[in-house]
Symmetry: C2
């Protein structure tokens, strides 16, 4: 398809949830999310696609085959997610959904009729940007998280996932594994903007997702007056936290992985008070699990040592941990061939495709990102590359839906 055709549909969602920063605030079940879901429904209706929401709040549009089609009835699932990290980029998630709608148009314009259902999915809370656990919709579907835990997850205002779902008219009591849906899916292909600078062609195919996880860290000490407490009398958790930020970076650098502290909350968070508690989150990833474990072990032991020196408490607990995902090798090679020898590359970013890959043959297509920036307003993809992504996804759906 041409770049202008991509741009026309893309522009329809560009204003939804856009902040002054140029980034997006599209949290699950927020007004922006509901506007995007309504837009998705309208697009599906325009195309005569049947829509439904599954028990976990994931939304689908079905392009059903003609009655009596030859295949086994199992669907080809594509799509991605609408939700964003706070002030995230435009492409991360929505590109996969918009591209899927355009790929359907392209296949129809070419006279293609699928032999099996082609389903476009919009997954819930992929980023964990509101409730803290990424890929929540796909994890629930795959039985990878306890529904009670999911219902009780809270956002920054204390609203639970269950309450947010219910306020949006969905039923949180229904949350839970969906093995029938997984069994009825022949393959899942998620198209996504590339999130680093690793892809130097318009479109690539994913090989693997690095093992990764997030850990909550609690640094505890003694709140006190910043102007009157002698330094030797202090038990200041901000010091231990600061050490931990630098230690995480150092351990990751030495081991050849990634570690990031991007989120921190101090209590009481007052200029003239020594903090009584600092809570922060560690994001760590590595090419393999041994490296990730080495980073974590080195980090924990160094921070514990420092906490003992600072007289503070340090506790670290995983909030999510995802082992390495190697995408289906046969499918990966088939798609790379189909796309004329597209580059095959791994990613450090988690995706619903990474969760579903344990249950369904799964592949990912990446669209080039010229800035390499993601999870920030500078995230980018050219209209030309996005159009090439639509063409590639159409070719893949045609191949898999025969």
């Amino acid at each position: 398809m041409d770049a202008a055709g991509f741009r026309r549909l893309w522009d329809q969602i560009a204003p939804i949830g856009r902040a002054d920063s140029g980034g997006y605030l599209r949290f699950s079940w927020s007004e922006a999310d509901l506007a995007l879901r309504a837009w998705f429904d309208a697009q599906a209706a325009e195309r005569g696609l049947r829509t439904e929401t599954d028990r976990n709040g994931n939304r689908y549009a079905h392009w059903d085959p003609e009655p009596g089609a030859a295949a086994d009835g199992r669907a080809v699932l594509t799509g991605s997610h609408f939700d964003s990290v706070p002030h995230g980029g435009a492409y991360d998630g929505p590109l996969g959904i918009v591209s899927a709608l355009l790929a359907v148009d392209e296949l129809r314009a070419a006279g293609f009729t699928p032999a099996r259902p082609v389903v476009i999915g919009a997954f819930t809370e992929e980023e964990g940007g509101r409730f803290g656990v990424p890929c929540l919709g796909s994890r629930l579907m795959a039985g990878a998280i306890d529904p009670d835990r999911a219902r009780a997850l809270t956002d920054a205002d204390g609203t639970t996932f269950a309450e947010a779902m219910r306020a949006a008219g969905a039923d949180p009591d229904a949350l839970g594994p969906d093995p029938d849906r997984l069994a009825a899916t022949a393959a899942f292909v998620e198209l996504h903007v590339e999130q680093g600078r690793a892809l130097d062609a318009p479109v690539g195919v994913a090989s693997a997702i690095w093992p990764h996880g997030r850990w909550r860290m609690d640094f505890t000490g003694a709140g006190d007056h910043a102007g009157t407490t002698r330094l030797p009398d202090r038990r200041d958790p901000m010091l231990t936290f600061a050490f931990a930020v630098l230690a995480a970076r150092k351990e990751a650098r030495l081991a050849g992985g990634l570690a990031t502290v991007g989120r921190v909350e101090a209590v009481p968070n007052a200029t003239n008070a020594i903090a009584s508690r600092v809570t922060a989150w560690l994001d760590a990833r590595a090419p393999d699990e041994a490296v990730l474990a080495a980073i974590l072990a080195g980090f924990e032991s160094k921070v514990c040592e420092r906490a003992a020196r600072d007289g503070t408490g340090f506790a670290i607990a995983p909030e999510s941990a995802t082992p390495i995902v190697e995408f289906d090798a046969a499918l990966r090679d088939r798609l790379a061939d189909l796309l004329g020898g597209a580059p095959v590359l791994p990613t450090g970013a988690g995706h619903d495709a990474g969760v579903l890959a344990a249950h369904v043959p799964t592949a990912m297509l990446f669209v080039r990102n010229p800035t390499g920036v993601s999870h920030a307003p500078g995230e980018a993809a050219s209209d030309e590359d996005c159009a090439a992504g639509v063409d590639a996804l159409a070719a893949v759906l045609r191949e898999l839906a025969c």
Copy 2:
């Protein structure tokens, strides 16, 4: 007076603004602050004291002398503030106001009639806990802050000081210097809980307030995806911030002062995003101004160096800076003698007394704090010591209001 008498009045305000932490949320112009002001008015009315609010939102109760009293008409001002830091202790501020009310009772019970007005003041926004600038009410009175700047100060929700004042029924257009009030004040004596472990008698007299200030620090970098951005490609302001926290402590330790980072805000503050910006506040204090300047200079140069290595931006700007305050030596010695040789000690904490000392002969009385904790729920003072504080304040008011 006896401890039980102190406790009876003290218990009346104990529940107002108390949080689950055991600390207090008594921000200026909040519901809790207005409840405390209403309580103050009721106490004044019970004692037949005339109340007024000055142009800067500071509230007063006047014990006027008999007509034809001998003195020159200038008042003896006492009192303190009701507002707290977030989750601050019970005593910091309110102790000075409650003690003043009880001291009036004690003087009256002893048949004393003042020769000059005795005025109990409740100053606005002493902590800067809501609008960031400490001693705001006294600074405005003293002409030490531009009223336009004060009106425009915002709280965490973006509400301005002017809006908060207006919502509470006060007039922010009137803010400004109050030289007539200062000229009509013969002396100011603020009673306050001691905020360290420096006082080993029930009551002491202040010698000086250390020079101190708060600086806003902005660390800027490039927001990006925590899972896909190579370490060498990052410009992560959280690293520079972490270095700064440790550097501030080190510089203060080497120079013999205090430095604290207790407040931090990261943007976008997401677990899986490298921060694009971290804003934090430095609180620094020292026994003299040369030491404070040395701490700041060492700190700035080391953080600038680190920011260059991290590829981040670092900007630091003072939000308030208070030179050393030496309280009126004659008044200090007179009070220490009057109180039977009470200990004389400096403090690192700022107070309205520190601001007004430039304009009015000013003294402070400290009440012993057995935990040494302040700006946190663990702040303490025994009822016996508080009662001794009331006796001391009554003796001082009797001495000064003759």
